[in-house]
Symmetry: C2
Subunit: 890 residues, 2 copies
């Protein structure tokens, strides 16, 4: 009664189902190959049956018949035992209990038709292995339940389009040939290997309670097998420019992992045009920097504008000329081309989504998943959930006598479930912790701001002129690095916190566990990565106040301003440091460095070993070497990394057009890195079926949506694009940009400084300063309402807001149009699906005809009943007409 259904299993190689009666060729290929040396442990002892799956468990001591007998007595009367078993025996008993449950479980497996072989005398002490083989008829049965699509014997030709289209196609194919991996996807021989995941639910269940320690299928290392090909044509940096052999990946790892790599591949591919355009936009900025009137005006030698000091007392008045460098640099990222680029990137994101949908559909078709409806795969409650429910029901029953927890899971089939009231504490903890974590992020960002402010102030105090000139750059860089380090550390912390919180929640099913975990991790990591950037983009330099009435933090620190030329420059620096740093450190250090380090440690350890042990290791069975690999931890971290990167590429692309390029470079490495990891460094994951990438698609859509509004705000509020336009069309006397710099700055009468805030050295510039300028739209001191925001301020604000509305709606409309114009299912695929359906009808009609004739010849006596309906002869003639008319359709 404990056993749960095994319907939800994944067969990674459906092409094995090719021809129902096993062909001699196929049987041959199932027989052990001549080169048995490298296939240690790939087969049962008889050398005939393949090992499809491995379960491992701990062995404490050699099996004793005593404990065995005892455990069977326990089962007969479980309630009595605890009183009998003394404290001394409890450990022993525990072992026996596990053994008993293993035996029960293995018995059930055998009942389901699986074949098992035990191996406790391996060279790995303390670990027992159960090898599982799934025979043909079991696979067939499972396949039927899963409604797996099989290739039939019937083959039809997919007609290529003729004429000019075909020629172009051929040319394109020839031109891109070196880009394709050297994999013959349709070799006749690759209907051979299969791995059969019998029931992942049970696995978790039993792993969770410690009966088994690990469960995994084997890596397939026979010489002409897929792993070798994957190694050469996929998991290697030398093939970075080639397409991935997705079909092979899917065959070896299953659809879920295949989809991940297909997605990653498409994303990387789509980044190519994006980074090209980004580079062009950047180059446009470089080329036009000398023609940019505002920065020319700032850098002009006759420019004589005196600026108000940047900090209280310690800082002095300064000449606008000094900001020449920043102004020129700003132009690189703040020019009209960036507006175009952010519109382009919004549409790019929409295109990417659409292309992915199409690609997914194509893969579904190629992998014969078109009819497969995503079953509620993990509808089955998780072990933790059942435990929780059980504890609750136990409490409810108020049974005072001790009940063996180990056995009471039988009760969980009762219709008890966790109500809202049970979950309330966990939910509350969740909300509080999430808010706390987000608060921590905010606090740290605020701390970095304080660091920047105070260090700047302190360094300004210094009398060393070189120090002072380098102040800004140094502070900016160190602050960005601190931010980066904090982000990296918190990333790890948040990952752990999210997992802990989700465990606390006790979600009912694996699917909901995964979704909740992803959702929480996503929120925390996103907030973590983007809070400092959002601060710089939208808040920095806006809460400054004005000369004579600055805004102070803790009553002594003035809020920081942006350099002249807008905050866009600083945003760009922060973005590039965060993005590059995250990628370099997380990818290279964590993903490459740490495995290398582990290998090194292992190497050092092996030095100390005796020769004998080393020799023994070489002769390890395949299932033993696999046992020493890291277990597969799911695709969540891989996807998460990529979605954060997608955020960098789309969210603030208006300020950093090179982001797609960096992402592209990173991903080219990332694909091969992940490939290597999957092929060589992890235990082979259980093949899982999937039609789509699930929640990740929704998250991507969400990010793309948010990107539109954020880019609108970056362009209109962070950059000077709108003020420039407003000046040009509303205020400029001659319609040019001349005079723009002067227009953006207000006047301040130095006599209006608060006491103690004026510069210590008013004669620093060599003359007595009476008026200084600052960047803001405010009334001059001589107006009726001095220092009040001016009409220009409101006009510019209105223009900024209008731009946001126009930008957002135009881009959303264009995205919707892109969405609408590109059909979700590629035309050729939908045609082929339709064609296949018709061919199938034709085939079945013929078969039915044959069957009817057979039955007729067998039992010619029961014609009476059929006469009730129609003349038999006529209905016999239908199929042909039918298939004919069906085929005619094409």
């Amino acid at each position: 009664a404990v056993l749960h259904q095994a319907t939800r299993s994944g067969i990674s190689n459906p092409s094995l189902m090719h021809s129902p009666p096993l062909s001699p060729q196929l049987l041959n290929s199932l027989a052990p190959e001549e080169n048995t040396q490298c296939q240690h442990g790939l087969y049962f002892q008889d050398g005939e049956r393949r090992v499809d799956y491995i379960l491992t468990y701990h062995i404490k001591k050699p099996s004793s018949s005593r404990s065995n007998r005892q455990s069977s007595r326990f089962t007969d009367n479980p309630r009595v035992v605890p009183e009998v078993a003394s404290q001394d025996h409890s450990m022993d008993y525990h072992e026996d209990d596990k053994r008993y449950r293993r035996e029960e479980f293995e018995g059930n497996l055998r009942d389901m038709g699986l074949e098992l072989e035990k191996d406790e005398d391996t060279k790995t002490p303390g670990v027992g292995f159960v090898k599982i083989h799934a025979p043909w008829h079991v696979l067939c049965r499972e396949a039927e339940f899963m409604k797996l699509k099989m290739p039939t014997k019937k083959v039809y030709e997919v007609k290529q389009c003729s004429g000019v289209g075909a020629k172009i196609n051929t040319l394109v194919n020839k031109a891109t040939e070196p880009l394709h991996p050297n994999v013959e996807e349709n070799r006749a021989q690759n209907v051979k290997h299969l791995s059969y995941a019998f029931s992942r639910e049970k696995q978790h269940f039993l792993l969770g309670s410690g009966v088994y320690t690990a469960a995994y299928p084997l890596h397939d290392v026979s010489t002409h097998c897929n792993q070798h090909l994957l190694y050469e044509e996929w998991a290697s940096y030398s093939v970075f420019y080639k397409y991935q052999p997705i079909g092979l990946v899917r065959k070896y790892f299953g659809e879920k992992i295949g989809l991940y790599f297909a997605w990653l591949g498409l994303y990387t591919q789509m980044l190519i045009p994006a980074s090209l355009v980004g580079v062009i936009v950047f180059l446009y900025g470089c080329a036009t920097v000398d023609n940019n009137i505002p920065s020319m005006e700032i850098c002009h030698p006759r420019n004589n504008i005196t600026m108000c000091p940047l900090c209280d007392r310690a800082c002095n008045y300064w000449k606008l000329k000094e900001a020449c460098g920043t102004a020129r640099a700003s132009h690189l990222f703040d020019n009209p081309a960036t507006v175009f680029f952010s519109i382009f990137m919004a549409l790019w994101a929409a295109m990417f989504m659409e292309h992915w949908k199409r690609r997914q559909m194509r893969l579904n078709y190629e992998w014969d998943l078109t009819g497969f409806e995503e079953e509620e795969v993990s509808d089955h409650p998780r072990a933790e959930y059942e435990l929780c429910v059980m504890q609750k029901s136990l409490k409810k029953e108020h049974k005072t006598q001790k009940v063996l927890i180990a056995y009471s899971w039988v009760f969980t089939t009762e219709k008890e479930k966790l109500t809202c009231r049970d979950r309330l504490p966990a939910y509350m903890t969740n909300i509080v912790m999430m808010l706390l974590m987000i608060g921590v992020t905010f606090a740290i960002v605020f701390g970095v701001i304080l660091y920047r402010i105070s260090i700047t102030a302190a360094l300004h105090m210094s009398n060393n002129p070189t120090t002072r000139s380098n102040v800004r750059l140094m502070v900016k860089t160190t602050a960005a690095i601190i931010n980066l380090v904090v982000i990296l550390i918190l990333d790890e912390v948040y990952g752990a916190v999210a997992r802990w919180l989700t465990v606390l929640e006790v979600p009912k099913t694996d699917k909901s566990f995964e979704e909740r975990l992803i959702f929480k991790t996503f929120i925390l990591k996103f907030v973590n990565a983007f809070t400092p950037i959002i601060y710089i983009a939208f808040f920095r330099g806006r809460l400054v106040g004005r000369p004579g009435s600055y805004l102070y933090v803790f009553e002594s620190y003035r809020m920081e301003e942006c350099a002249h030329g807008g905050c866009l420059m600083e945003l760009c620096i922060q973005l590039s440091i965060t993005m590059l740093g995250k990628q370099l450190i997380q990818n290279n250090l964590f993903e490459i460095g740490i495995p290398k380090l582990k290998k090194l440690i292992r190497y050092i350890k092996s030095k100390r070993r005796t020769f004998q042990e080393e020799e023994r290791e070489k002769k390890l069975q395949r299932y033993e070497t696999d046992h020493f690999l890291e277990p597969f931890a799911g695709l969540t971290p891989e996807y998460m990394e990529m979605i954060i990167q997608f955020g960098f590429v789309t969210l603030f692309v208006a300020s950093f057009p090179l982001a797609p390029l960096f992402a592209l470079l990173n991903n080219i490495i990332e694909i091969r890195l992940d490939a290597k990891k999957f092929v060589a460094e992890l235990r082979r994951p259980v093949a899982a079926r999937a039609k789509d990438i699930g929640i990740w698609y929704n998250l991507l859509r969400g990010v793309a949506k948010v990107a539109v509004i954020i880019n609108a705000f970056v362009i209109s509020f962070t950059s000077d694009f709108i003020p420039r336009l407003v000046y040009q069309y509303m205020y400029s006397p001659d319609g040019s940009m001349h005079g723009f710099v002067n227009h953006t700055m207000s006047y301040f009468n130095v006599s209006d400084f608060q006491d103690g805030k004026e510069p210590m050295d008013p004669h620093h510039l060599g003359y007595q300063v009476e008026m200084c300028r600052y960047k803001d739209y405010r009334e001059p001191p001589w107006s009726n309402t001095p220092y009040v925001v001016s009409k220009e301020f409101w006009a510019v604000l209105a223009a900024r807001l209008a731009f946001v509305i126009v930008f957002q709606n135009v881009v959303m409309l264009m995205s919707d149009i892109v969405d609408w114009l590109i059909p979700d299912i590629p035309k050729d695929i939908s045609l082929q699906i339709h064609k296949e359906k018709i061919l199938m009808v034709e085939l079945f009609m013929k078969e039915e005809q044959g069957k009817m004739q057979f039955i007729d010849s067998m039992t010619p006596c029961d014609g009476k009943e059929r006469n009730n309906h129609a003349p038999v002869a006529r209905s016999r003639s239908i199929p042909h007409t039918y298939s004919h008319t069906h085929a005619n359709n094409f």
Copy 2:
């Protein structure tokens, strides 16, 4: 070879498939009922076989053996005939050709297993009928191709939730019992009637070429049949408060029409809360009208503000007090509650969408459509398209000899198709015509504006004071009525134009024809209905200019202003007149009146008939009476009407909170009206399967999306909501609304009037006016920059724009959250689907077990092969374990 597939047929009553061997009960029910009187023509002459479908054609003369022979000769050698056949014979030949094709077609039908009966000697002269019966085995075969789901014999109990939930459920059920129609949906007897639509593609094809004149299934008028029930419990105004018997509707008319009525029902139901809230908002406006400070200030007796004249020369200065009435009325629709209401309605629209998705899913489940994948039903080319392609290929072949067009359709199977170049003229015509039509709408709206301006000016000239006081109201009302009439006329014109344009385009398939037609009709009708409204909401009163520098149309007509209190009032009037007028006239006049009129005409005609004829009419066969009914023209007009109404309900709801109420009242009638039409006044439509409402859902989504942004603009730009807020928080000395009216009005020095534009009678008010006021934010005459827009203008504009951004994004976010929180598939449905799947597996496992045992007992000799895999005895025991573990899941 001409025949096309018949897979795409609709069986409206899948429950007939209940038990594969015909049960005696079922056979009984298929036999003619005792009461044959009302069932004239429901059965073949033998009284056994049911008439499932009717084809009609014209008979020119009694069939002559000569022409028959001739036509058969034609077929043998079609190319030779034209030279032989003289002009004289062409008419005759045409008839024969049709006859020949009818015969070929009917032969094909017979080949497919259908049974036919001809009836040319009916009482309806000139019309021949072909009655078609689809025997049982044909239905079964078609059902298999369509993957129709059948109820199996296995029944399982849907477990009701227990405890408090169940009690509440029972209570609710009891309370709503009178709302449910008196229909036993699960009567054992209603597994009886079926209609079989053999092939809709062919139908069109042949109808298009005039071979048959009509094709339809019969209305089912036997006494205990569904039509009677539908008549009583559905198509009657007396049951307007009840739910619709959707299951019955679907059974009688098929899924497509069932879904329409389900959708209409849900929409009407959802309108109830919306109209409740709308009424409350309106009442709130009524209740607070006396506490509204701005209108109090306007109406205050001591208010002494002199306003600038509303037209040149003829008009005079006036006192703001005169606008008291409008200001108070404006408050009814322009108060903070409307802001809440438009947010509410945006969420309501999102909820409606979600609820519809769930309802659709539930219906899909109840109607056993869950597995049914929407096939490319109309992938088959339309007759018109094939004709076009054929003509092209004929031209291409440059054959100079005359080829019989009637026979050359055989060539269309060649892979010829219409390219972009062929379609270019049609596309160009389409675009030009669409733009032209939209241009016509704009021109008419502009014409109405001119009418308003000129009539106002002319009436102002009049010296009659009562005329002048009523000027505004009269002009407004007449203009709105003109608009309405124009909209109604153009609606009909545009419907025809859209159809014509779509025919011109020659779309390939029926589906694309329908979609293109709907799209074009939607755009034209929407533009038509909403252009005047959009003009009033967003342009009127904004292009006025200012005193001394007004904007003139044609250099003599001043653009119109809004009444004091904003244009919201006028928008509201326009909206209500358009909406109510459209509904009353289109529904009542067109849908009720015209059929009544037709009946009257028929009655008058019948008076003239002889008694004999009348008597004969009474004895008409059922298929003859049905022949006189109007053919079913598709659901497009019904949906279109509703979607335009949905537009009225959502798009401008901020200005007219009573719109949902009017829509609700209309729809309650509409449902029963449509029901009556379908049951009694139209030929029974061919039952068509559908999983969803198709393109209409997308259009609804589109309207709901546009509604958010339009409401944001209405609130922030059309209403005075934002200026009031800005005044209260930025300018008001005491934080109250006192002084708001004064603040919104600028000063004008009357000496600045252009020559000839000042009022003729400056002393009209009894004193010399020096300054007059006008509603705008401009600098006073005494400032440095007189009459330039002021700082307040920009501040208010910025606030308005900011509101739009905030409103749009908040509402969109909330809609997305609603979308995300409400699962698309109701929980109970997804559970039941899962459960059914498991039960099905169990059933099949048992069956397979039985089969294996049977085979074993038959052929006990071939055990060798099976031994290859596993012990047979063990695999035999699997099914039970299996089903057990499966069932355990619940």
